[in-house]
Structures are given as structure tokens and as C-alpha cells.
Subunit: 379 residues, 2 copies
Amino acid sequence: MADRADAHELRLDVALGPRSYAIQVVSGRPAHLGSFTRRALDATWAGKACRSALVITDQNLASLPHAANCEGALEHAGIACRRAVLAPGEATKNLGSASRLFDELVGMKADRHTAVIALGGGVIGDLAGFVAATYARGLPLLMVPTSLLAQVDSSVGGKVGINHPQAKNIIGAFHQPIGVWIDTDTLNTLPPRELRCGLAEVVKYGVILDAAFFDELEAASAAIIARQPEALRAIVARCCRLKAEVVTRDEREETGLRAVLNFGHTVGHAIEAVAGYNGHFQHGEAVAAGMVAECRLAQRLGWIDPALTERLILLLDRFGLPSSISGLDPAQLLEAMSRDKKNQRGKVRFVLPRCLGRVELTDAAGPEDVLHALNATGA
Amino acid sequence: MADRADAHELRLDVALGPRSYAIQVVSGRPAHLGSFTRRALDATWAGKACRSALVITDQNLASLPHAANCEGALEHAGIACRRAVLAPGEATKNLGSASRLFDELVGMKADRHTAVIALGGGVIGDLAGFVAATYARGLPLLMVPTSLLAQVDSSVGGKVGINHPQAKNIIGAFHQPIGVWIDTDTLNTLPPRELRCGLAEVVKYGVILDAAFFDELEAASAAIIARQPEALRAIVARCCRLKAEVVTRDEREETGLRAVLNFGHTVGHAIEAVAGYNGHFQHGEAVAAGMVAECRLAQRLGWIDPALTERLILLLDRFGLPSSISGLDPAQLLEAMSRDKKNQRGKVRFVLPRCLGRVELTDAAGPEDVLHALNATGA
């Protein structure tokens, strides 16, 4: 992948049988979205008849050229667009927003040949994807992720969902998109904090699957922070390929393989739940601190030595990401983890590193181990 | 199937690859439900770890022995039960009820190894199934249908969902159960109107797939109305087998084959929407009148002669089912049909008979044909 990173358009194919789709990574080519979508639709059973779409986005993107560019390209390809604009932020990802979007679809007399276009970050992708998965038992879904986090993580893999007030992402479905369109130019307008949050997931791929990639991130960190297009395309495409490889081998999270992607997330989701989705921790920041806590837990179990944790903290620091739980109560975090979807028979399960580039799912950590690791990650 | 109808336990296997499951039809053997469920769970990836379940039912069933019997059998098989009781009736099948059930699951710290038991009629099956499909991206679902309508129709096939105020069943998913347990003794306490509603779907199977079955229904109508167990087991198993054959050939309603099951339902759903789910038309009654209207539409297109419609009206009448739209406004019905899920490019599509036992999906009927057929079915 790295040697193709200078090309203007990188294409990856996610092989999932009848649910296969393409990911296109470009820089500054919004008009090509129309023909990409038309081809993606025509490859599905529903495609030829698709002539209309609901573009779901948020207020930030609606005020930028991205939304109008996207709709212009779709209209040019013969797809009439209606736009639904939501408030930005994690608090939007709830059943009330889904209900409003169902109203929109009923109002436009949507049928199974109406496409849903998710134009935005992870919140929009998850929410729009859930609505696409459940309206008329499944509408064609195009992901157009505009944040780094969504580009490298949530837009690939088919997991869609919304939050319950007490449990993040607990209401959801598996619904593969018909395609993923990524234009790294959308990252130019991304607030620095949003870029950092995406980088947390990028670092995660190095720890869980690809030690060489971790090395490259350490070497290229300055170019990445400076948002050099080649550097961004390279890391986005690398992460998408790594994630696609996992997803194709465990589409519905049944073999345990896909669970490796949850490194940093068991603690991370608990941090978000306890902090209350109030903006004190954004998702990527919670994952960053979660990765550090989970490395400490791996140390406690004797799986890794402290040098790996220190190396992780240094790279996170270079990207401006936190490596502490900032005074949150470890006992409350533990309680929140008891609702994690990976749990079995009431035991909290973690994905922990064995070495750089390899992780394992385990229930070997007891509550006292977890509290110890959280206390060590406290300040 | 008919020659095995005297056996106490009839078993059908629905072949859907990794989502295959069994349907068991018994009379008066509630205790066997536990071992059936354990075997069904153990055959799934999630099964061995399943030790708890949420039993979703309604107030009518909670006051009968069925709910306690079901829970007793499950507890005996090592599955701890919590019960959620909802108000009976179609009005319960909405997003608010789903939200309440998500709260219950979060409250019991449900994970992907918690089973959902849908104990009730079609409303409970559809709603509980939707919740099972979308909580933690899919919980194991056991269907225990207690109404004739649910036994012969909604419990088999994997279609789950809830209503939008303006469109029935528009929010939903495909989620196959791990098993279907049918005890015809639950029909002994069913109000006569509920039994009649189920018979509308039974008659439908004869019209769309099995002319010989239609003949048998005409011959056995007295035994069926008298609720003779052998007669009930025979028709329930026959309908389940017919439906399973269709479902296995078109699991996700993509080839058009599964659409044959929608005979009577395009008009039927519109009748329910216009009448407002207020109890004036129950689902089976709406389908009965819908079948008559759609036969008249087939006559209008020259597909069948009036004798088939008359024969249908006679059999419906013997079962106490309506064959008229009872003064509902044809224009309002047409407007409601414009939101039907089968529609393509804005055209209303119907499943219409070519002869007894064979139907076809068509968009050949224009609005004026539909209005003509509705007017002829008006009084």
C-alpha cells in the first residue's frame, strides 16, 4: 500500500461475498463521487432503480462546501437528493434522532430503492447507518466520512448503531455500505482536536496488527500533524486495509478475531460513559487513555514490559493525545465496563497486547487487576 | 405433511445455512419447551454461554398459565428469566415500546448471550424480534407464538419490525429466530376474533401456493372453527411448511419470490393505516378484505374470472371474515399504498392471482384500476 500512496486515487476492495464493496481514497476530487456511487448502486440488487437519496449530515458540514459538492455530484449522476441536517456531537446519536430521520424518510415516501448518504464523522455514519439498516429492513448506504476517525474506523466494517443513555452503541446492527468514499481534503477544515482523535485509532492499528506501521507513524508524525496530503492518504488507506482484512475474516464479530479492534475501547467506552458524553473526553481521547490503561493491565498480567507502554505514551503525546483518565473514578469505570458487549457470563473481557503488533482477547483480568491499572493511569 | 398430522409433535427444519432453525408444533406439552430451547441455543455460536433470557409478553398472556409455564420450562433448562409485560394490541408495536425494552435489557446487563423469548401474538413477535435484532447487534431469539396468526405467519421467516405512525412495519430488520415453538393448546383461550384473523392468512396460503390446501380448507372448515387439535396442528404445520419453502428461497426479499406472501397485504396494510390501527380492522380482517379487493383487481386486469373471487368470499364468510372495505375512502387507501415497501420508482406493486394456487408480482395496475377494484369492494 505504501508504494501506491502517491497516486491520486487509491481503491481497496472489501470482499464480503454479496455484500462486497469498494473504498475509494482521493484528495480533492468531489465530482467523482457521483459516478462512484452510480457504479456502487448498480452492483447491488437494488441499484438500477435508485433515483433518490437522503443525505444525512450535521450543521458543521452543511455550512462547508462538502455537502453541496456531494449533492451536486449525486444529482449529476441522476440521484435526486433531500438533506437532513442534525446537531453535531455524540449527544445526537440517540433514538430520538433516529426517529426524526425515520420521519424524514416516510415524508419523502422512501422505499427500498432510496439511498442513504452518510456525510460526516462517526456520529453521522453510525446514526445514518442504523437508520439505513432498519428502514424498510435495509436501504443502500453510502459512507462519505469527513473526519479522520470516521475515515480510518467507523465507516469501514458495517457496524452501525446509536447510544442508550447508559450504554454506548448498544442499539445497532450489522449493515454493510455499498461503498465508502473518502476525500482527504475534508480533513483540511477539521478542528485540530478532531484530527488528534482520529490519530488515536491510527495508533491503535499499529499496536494491534502492524508493528512496522507503528514505526512509520513515529517517523512520520510531523508530516501527519502538518496534514501533508500524501501522508494522510497513506495512513488512511493503510488503516482501511488493515480494518478490511479483519472485517472480512469476522464480519459479524462471531469468531473473536474482530474483537482485536476493541483494544483501548473497553476502558475507552467506560470513560465516555462515566464522563457522560459531555465533551470532556471525545471518543479518540477516551480510546487513547484506554489504550494506556489496557497496556498497564497487560503489564499487570505479565504480558508486556513497561517499555511498550512508554513508547505508546510518547507517540500519543506527540499527537497531542491524553494518556490518563484525568481523575475519573476507577470504581465507576469498572461498573460501566460490566455492560460491555464483549462480556460473557458477567466477566469483563479485554483485548490486550502480547507484543507490538499482536493482541489477544482475554478474561484473565479480575476486578482488582483492572482497578490497579486504572489507578496507575489516573493522573 | 397431512399424513403426519396426527403425531403429537411435528418438526419442520427451515434450511438457511448458518441461520437454519427448527419449528416444533405440539399440543399441550409446555414442559418440552426447555429442552427444545437449550438444543436450539447450543446449535448457535452464542448458545453455550446463554444462561439468561428476557421473556417479552403482553398482559393477556401474563394472566394465563402460558407465561409461567414457559418460564418454568426455561428455568428448568438452566435459563434464568426476567419478564417484560406490554399492553396488548397493535398500538404497542412502536418505537416507544422498543425503547422501553432496550431499557429492560440494559437494566439486566444483557450481553450477546442473553436470549429474547417472544411469547405472544404477532405484535409481540415483531416487536421483541426487532429488539432482539438491534440490541448488541443481535440477540438469540426464540419465537413462541400463541395466536394462530403468529403461528402460521409472522413467527416464521425472520421479518421483525415496528410501526411508524404513518407506515406499518416500516422500521425493521431481517433477524432469523433460533427456533419456533408452537403449542396449539394456546389457541384454546384465543378470542374467536383472533382465531378468525389467523384463518385469513391460512386461506391466503391456499390462494397463493396450494390449490389442494384451499380445497381441504373448504372441506374442513367446521372442524377448524371447532378448534379440533388435529385439524389445528395440520393447518399450522402446512402453513409453516409453505412459508418456510418461500423464505428459504428468498430470505431477504430480494428475488421477488417472497413477495408472493404479500397477497392481500398491499390493500390490507392500507386499510390498517387509514383505519388507524384503532381496532375497527384487525390485521387478519384487513388482509381478508384486501385479498378480495386484490382479486377484483386481478379480474379488472383479465387475469382471473369472477368465480375465484366468489369462492374466496364464500370461504372467508364461513370463517366469519369480512370481504369489504366497509366504507373506507378509496382515495385515502390509494394514498396509503404509495408508501408500500414493494413499490419501485413510485409505482404501486401488487401480488395478484393468475389462478388458484399461483400469484404474480406486477405493476400493471394503474391508479384508476385500483380505485375501480376498491369501489367494487366497498360495501
